[in-house]
Symmetry: C2
Subunit: 433 residues, 2 copies
Amino acid sequence: MQDLKHVYISEISKYAGRDVCLKGWLYNKRSSGKLHFLQVRDGTGIIQAVVFKGDVDPETFTMADKIPQESSVEVYGTVKEDKRSPAGFEIGVKHLKLVSEAMEYPISPKEHGVAFLLENRHLWLRSPRQHAILKIRNTIIKTIRDYFNNNNFLLIDAPIFTPAACEGTTTLFETEYFDEKAYLTQSGQLYMEGAVMAFGKVYCFGPTFRAEKSKTRRHLTEFWMVEPEMAYYDLNMDMDLAEDFVETIVQSVLNANRAELGLLERDISKLENIKKPFPRISYDEALEILKSKGKEVPWGEDFGGDEETAISENFDGPVMIHRYPAECKAFYMKQDPQNAKLALCVDMIAPEGYGEIIGGGQREDNLDLLLAKIKEHNLNREAFEWYLDLRRYGSVPHAGFGLGIERTVGWLCGLHHVRETIPFPRMMERIKP
Amino acid sequence: MQDLKHVYISEISKYAGRDVCLKGWLYNKRSSGKLHFLQVRDGTGIIQAVVFKGDVDPETFTMADKIPQESSVEVYGTVKEDKRSPAGFEIGVKHLKLVSEAMEYPISPKEHGVAFLLENRHLWLRSPRQHAILKIRNTIIKTIRDYFNNNNFLLIDAPIFTPAACEGTTTLFETEYFDEKAYLTQSGQLYMEGAVMAFGKVYCFGPTFRAEKSKTRRHLTEFWMVEPEMAYYDLNMDMDLAEDFVETIVQSVLNANRAELGLLERDISKLENIKKPFPRISYDEALEILKSKGKEVPWGEDFGGDEETAISENFDGPVMIHRYPAECKAFYMKQDPQNAKLALCVDMIAPEGYGEIIGGGQREDNLDLLLAKIKEHNLNREAFEWYLDLRRYGSVPHAGFGLGIERTVGWLCGLHHVRETIPFPRMMERIKP
């Protein structure tokens, strides 16, 4: 019996009618006299294992009655088709082996507070809801990497330790670096600009950090960002790529994760609508939309979460807002040749109030304009000499963007808060476990 | 002319006989009277663009004569088969457009010191050698992610900010985390152990950090590591997976990167030999090998770089050394049931003196033994309560390993030093650019 082949629940349909061994954990159970119905999970799925008194030795029957939730167990039995079960199959148990008996499990089916669940994140991960979210996260990340591999981008991992800030210093995490100071990266963009002059099309994909003292539902201190950068691209080409990229991600999740979206009770029709082209509006047009809703924003100010939500209400899918006032955007944004007050930048706002998922645009490729911007922003020119080199030796029009993974997961899963979108979330007041 | 389709050099063979536009940089040139031969690179390859006086307007011919190295340029012309060129094609130029004239380029074909090249890493990346290395790095990373996706592993990104040390505190980078201290992760392993009880087979793949005050050719302060973890796996299954994984990576690079390996003058025959099964020797057998070479190591001591190199000389490919003395290994290693002095761990040593590329093993799944180890190692038990939970609620045999990306890149590329294996290396005395 113990020689039976170990199979995973996700591949159980291949073993219909055969005797197999499952290795997993007891997720739940119910009993009725001569029958115990064990819900067994192994990380790839959940299946019902039926223990009938007449089929097993007395020890197995007793064990099936007493085994506590989350105990680890090996199940030996026959794979039987069962149209009523979600898996389509159940196991007719012949023998059980208790691997380790669990102590009383702290997470019960009753509602728990979020603080308690976060404190027990290592156990909370075992719930079907967290499974569904992290499987969707896995699909999103796989799709992103496949997308860039298939489109001849080269992966260029950006450094985490940086000597200078990319966008302001107030939200930087600082660390002693031997006899110097180092800062944890907030974006790989400047490095991608360096690499793109060597490789044409590049991307980085790694963790980034912001020491923001904010406890909103959209903020993590540590989050993953993917940042493509393309040589010889202008703002329009950048927007073309961004919308194709986001459409690809959404369609890929719809293809791969119907079951998970169902478990999360996500309104799938809202996602099925996400097809390019996405609407493109200027900052000025966005101001008009806000005005029509009674939200006056003075020209020159950036939008916050409230404004993004208000604008997104006018659209079924993501909307791209381009050409913000240069004064509210970073120094490296390219000046609009049509209007020096505007930057050739773009933000993509997710629908349904999920906020900004992409920020990007064309980069300033003119050495003199860039030098003026560095001065205007009171940045330390010396720290940017290498970056200025990129305009000295073969400057070209180039553009790129960054997409935040956790906000994208939150949007596609329909989650209220980003804390569930990453396996071990880090927030202002949360660094454990 | 300016309406011609923009194509990349990597796809030039599809356009034989047609007029196209290339957008890139001048890598090199030579002239002979009525002909200028421009070597143009666009990040996907290098191609020769031939400017014949009779074919172009005078401005283009003059420009071709004067354009400095690394200037950005658009080349309009006809794709012609040319058996003598490495690309198999050249461009018969009809028109050139200078996008940006480069200042005098600081990196010339003459030899430069490593410090100078590292200081100019953003420009050094443009060299064919760095291209070759980073394309091989790209293949390795793609292969790793495909491998785990194809084998039903779930990606579980481990946190970078951690509250406690996994392996000692002397080499930790520390940062202020609002009102607390946080440390940059040295390994995602403990988190993978948590996740594997939820998902069965998981992996993390991200940057890890060691503040080691060592300037050897094998050390970076920031390096990427991939760490799979499997529930219901013992040490032997762990070694089976490790050798299959490494074989897959090596064969994938051989398939995808013959040209790059050639450019690096890598002895390919050494890599073609890398086929599983890999030899497995015990720590005691490794001691015998060292003794036979006149290197006596007292039983109980771990091996350093010198010992690893000496052992690797006895093998054509990677060798796995298992069952080290528990006293020289981390607290979480599972005690060998056959001999309590040994740990069920494994290190994989690359051939040709490239050192340890994998460290891993089976984890202690017995709560009491683990508690004793935490006490013995003077670790703060409270910080590990969540980790101990994994032995309280359904403990199972489990195992995993970590593979260092940069050492793997260094080995496969045949590099003396790891500093070239990552786009922007971080070492004790190097944090710029």
